[in-house]
């Protein structure tokens, strides 16, 4: 990788590669696709939260003109699915476990006919008692969701005990029980966070079509074409060689499109009818059938010395997993691994359990368990600061991790810009003034400012990249990584262009396609810039070496005497006139000597693992995590004294991203994350009445609009290069959201003195708390 980046590549906020098609209305999302003879599919969800399927009768539905196929679960192979625990089938087979649990599917000539046919499928259920609360679910005699739980295949060393408990993760370092005696101040609290819906503007959908040789092509909005290929194979018993998964443009994902949506159902309907079938969920179906963020109840206890030095942290969390495991074991494991936070705390014990209930499954969502952890931990830390009589920002600075410190489990963290994040936050937000002598609020309002730190990871798992030099000296970059709107296509192309010193226009980004792309685990874990970027940089470097090797034959010199020059040239060091454009080298390679120049890299994230001599880890489905990332968040709020309504009036969000490959995209990730965090903190909560989601629409589930958030959301980019990252970069996809909830909660405490423990901080909740405090 060359030290100098060319203009228009690394470090530049260049426009997205695909931006023109998006502003012209030409971007193709899956629902924009039409195939000849295409049918439309629809999915029937269970009407009851828990029951046995006694019988089904498809005859009335099949008799409806235009209906081409009706499939019910018991007709499918009994293949179980699940990212960590194989506890689900593509359609419910013997039991249904939540209202909305997919139980049948229809293909018809148009969508109206397909939906009408759903109402004509007669399924007889034996209704079973249901349980909707994690505490109730763990009691003896509570309804049991998965009678055969112990027999399910689990892909990690799962720990579980207790009724309806599907996973228990434990992380322990030092000796918490003995440490309390060393503490001068101890603060304990219980903090609850809600089920947040992803609410991507594009609902889940897929289109499947078989060819005459029995191979199926599946276009869908997904965060991973490779996970889709594997899941379809697993569910339907098709060989992976007969499945081609392609990503269309994706209208937002945020974790909700990591695991299958309607892909498997589209394939089974296409198989049954012999025609292409498109299955797009309606908004309320997406809300009630797919997945949401885990509601969590977290007990946190933190102890410190009088001077604010943190000594011990205990963390005990219960996560509502809903009816199926989905990504719960990962979310629970990651949530407990984040429980210490980015601080020096010698004694930590952290336990999390995931519990089945008869509700929608909960899964991956921006932050992956960390927003719940951060809310509880950072609220608790603020309460500790109050008890110590310390400025909450000073308390955080005093204990902040610094370069060379270790994460829980013993990994050394060399790149850590947390202190700089806090210092910049303090300066740019004018913290000391706003905290100690705030400007007067508008009449009838109370004003406050709050802070929270956050840490996260970017990394995990396998990825690969192929870079090809084309005959004219331009490049083709192929990674299989799906850009779900965050801008990774552009960032990866910038890394390639920067490594090879060509303008961005000379890099073609290949659309993810399992028939063409090398393996990539997926878009998630804030990993694409960091992990895929590493593969891209490495494959590009390999291409650079090959260019020099071929050019050395032409120049009759040693490859080491050659260098890449700006604009796509290779030349002899120290001899400005001795230079060839890449196109000449490519032509020589393609048609004379050596063959086409292709660089490939395949890698598994190889950072240090947890040290078993240092920490006890049980039931955690990760052996290592990735590069650690750090940030700090401040928000200023006003509370209406009459209604209790909280309004964020300004926000500052500082993140150490290692190196901002595309600063405009980094800012967009931060601002978008902050606003999603404001929604999580103030208005967003999926609500159930018994087993039924009562707000499955944008009318009743309130995501923030432009007037609900401040324009002044200040991204502060901090760059402490990560040695293992491409050009020093780390990820920033998830962090923007994580610190917002606790920062708002702590600002409310500053404004009106009430220390809330339940999110979201609705006007009613805040008003009630203010009345109680008065």
């Amino acid at each position: 990788m060359s030290a100098q980046s060319p203009a228009n590549a690394v470090g530049q906020g260049v426009p997205r590669l695909e931006v023109r098609e998006k502003v012209f209305g030409q971007a193709q999302y899956v629902d924009d696709m039409v195939r000849p003879r295409m049918l439309h599919g629809a999915v029937l969800g269970s009407p009851i939260p828990h029951g046995r399927i006694k019988s089904f009768d498809k005859s009335r539905a099949l008799a409806l003109p235009g209906v081409k196929a009706v499939i019910v679960g018991p007709e499918l192979p009994a293949h179980h699915l699940g990212a960590f625990i194989k506890d689900e089938t593509a359609l419910a087979r013997e039991k249904v476990r939540y209202i909305g649990d997919p139980v049948a599917a229809v293909a018809a000539v148009d969508l109206a006919t397909a939906r009408k046919a759903l109402g004509l499928i007669d399924i007889e259920y034996e209704e079973l008692p249901a349980v909707f609360d994690v505490d109730e679910a763990q009691k003896p005699g509570a309804p049991l969701l998965h009678e055969n739980y112990e027999k399910y295949v689990k892909v990690y060393p799962a720990e579980f005990s207790g009724r309806n408990v599907l996973t228990i993760s434990t992380v322990s370092e030092g000796n918490v029980d003995q440490a309390w005696a060393q503490c001068d101040v101890i603060v304990e609290g219980v903090y609850e966070s809600p089920a947040q819906a992803h609410a991507y503007l594009e609902t889940n959908g897929a289109l499947a079509e078989f060819d005459a040789a029995g191979k199926v092509t599946v276009w869908s909005c997904t965060q991973s074409i490779f996970k889709m290929q594997a899941a379809i194979s697993e569910a339907l018993g098709l060989p992976m060689a007969k499945i081609r998964a392609i990503a269309t443009r994706v209208g937002g994902g945020f974790g909700g499109k990591s695991e299958p949506g309607t892909q498997i159902i589209a394939v089974m309907l296409a198989q049954a009818t012999g025609r292409p079938v498109k299955v797009i969920l309606s908004r309320d179906e997406d809300f009630t059938m797919m997945r949401v963020r885990h509601p969590a109840k977290v007990r946190v206890k933190t102890g410190a010395k009088k001077d604010g030095t943190l000594v011990a942290r205990e963390f005990d969390a219960v996560y509502d997993a809903g009816a199926y495991a989905d990504e719960s074991p990962g979310v629970v494991g990651f949530g407990v691994l984040m429980a210490r936070g980015p601080y020096r705390v010698p004694h930590v014990k952290s336990v999390g359990r995931g519990v089945y209930t008869n509700k929608l499954r909960t899964g991956a969502f921006r932050g992956f368990g960390n927003p719940q952890t951060a809310f509880a931990s950072e609220a608790n830390l603020d309460d500790l600061a109050a008890k110590l009589g310390m400025d909450p920002l000073d308390l955080r600075l005093k204990n902040a991790m610094r370069p060379g410190d270790t994460w829980v489990g013993g990994q050394k963290v060399e790149a850590c810009g947390l202190v700089e994040c806090l210092e910049k936050l303090r300066k740019q937000s004018d913290w000391d003034k706003r905290r100690n002598s705030p400007a007067p609020a508008k009449p009838g309002k109370k004003r406050g400012i709050g802070v929270a730190c956050l840490s996260h990871i970017s990394g995990v798992l396998a990825t690969s990249a192929i870079v090809r030099l084309l005959e004219d000296g331009s490049f083709s970059l192929n990674t299989g990584a799906v850009d779900i709107g965050q801008g990774s296509d552009t960032t990866l192309a910038q890394i390639c262009a920067g490594s090879l010193r060509v303008p961005l226009e000379r890099v073609n980004l290949v659309n993810p396609d399992t028939d063409a792309s090398p393996y990539n685990w997926g878009t998630g874990a804030s990993r694409v810039t960091y992990t895929v970027g590493r593969a891209v940089a490495s494959a590009s470097d390999s291409v650079a070496e090959q260019i020099k090797q071929r050019a050395s034959i032409i120049f009759e010199c040693a490859p080491a005497d050659l260098e890449l020059r700006e604009g796509g040239m290779v030349g002899v060091k120290g001899v400005p006139g001795k230079v060839l454009p890449y196109g000449a080298v490519a032509g020589f390679s393609h048609f004379v000597v050596g063959g086409p120049i292709i660089g490939t890299t395949a890698l598994m994230f190889d950072g240090p693992g947890f040290d078993p001599k240092r920490a006890l880890l049980r039931g955690v489905p990760f052996s290592n995590l990735g590069a650690y990332v750090f940030g700090a968040q401040a928000v200023e709020i006003e509370i209406d004294e009459v209604t209790g309504k909280v309004e964020v009036i300004e926000a500052w969000s500082a993140h150490d991203v290692g190196k901002a490959i595309n600063p405009q995209s980094v800012e967009g990730q931060i601002q978008g994350g902050v606003v999603q965090g404001i929604g999580y903190a103030l208005t967003e909560s999926v609500e159930w009445d018994g087993g039924r989601v009562v707000n499955p629409t944008f009318m009743d589930y309130k995501i923030p609009g432009a007037l609900d958030v401040p324009y002044a959301i200040h991204p502060i980019i901090v760059e402490h290069p990560e040695a293992s990252g491409p050009f020093g970069a780390k990820g920033v996809g998830e962090p923007g959201l994580i610190g917002v909830g606790p920062a708002i909660r702590n600002a409310i405490a500053h404004a009106v003195g009430v220390r809330l423990s339940v999110m979201p901080f609705s006007a009613e909740r805040v008003w009630t708390a203010m009345r109680g405090a008065a």
Partner: protein
């Protein structure tokens, strides 16, 4: 029923079901898929089009009622390959992430700037507040509208 629609300056004669929404007619019959379905109840604004110059939720409008009216969709905003001032500003400011809300955002902004040459920040926020975006946090969308407004000749 047979309905004459004027979309992006072109006349089209469509056979429509009386219950069909304008969104459906645009996407399915005319193949103008730039207009998006987000919530199907008029909340998110992804389906925004201009009807006689005013932004409208095409998911709530019956297509059969649009005869004789001028409809503009995202496909009708650019001058050939040349983006409009609003589209160009969206490109430059980083206002586009997943892109699903973008067509509706651009049409709402076009309508605003045809009505008001130099709207203030709060006017822009107000005008854009009926279009939901889950990616951007709105700041760069507001920047885009502001930039476009500054480029429109006074």
């Amino acid at each position: 029923m047979q309905v004459e629609l004027n979309v992006n300056g072109e006349q089209a004669s469509l056979m429509l079901d009386a219950r069909q929404t304008l969104l459906d007619a645009l996407r399915v019959q005319l193949g103008l898929t730039g207009t998006k379905l987000g919530c199907n109840q008029g909340v998110c604004g992804a389906c925004t089009v201009l009807i006689d110059g005013k932004p409208a939720r095409s998911c709530l409008v019956l297509a059969a009622g649009c005869g004789g009216r001028k409809i503009v969709t995202i496909e009708g905003i650019a001058d050939g390959a040349k983006p409009s001032a609003v589209q160009q500003a969206f490109i430059e400011t980083g206002a586009v992430q997943c892109g699903y809300c973008t067509p509706g955002m651009i049409l709402t902004a076009e309508a605003l700037l045809r009505k008001r040459k130099r709207p203030g920040l709060d006017e822009i926020r107000e005008a854009m507040s009926g279009n939901l975006c889950r990616c951007s946090g709105y700041a760069k969308i507001i920047d885009a509208v502001k930039l476009a407004s500054e480029r429109v000749p006074a």
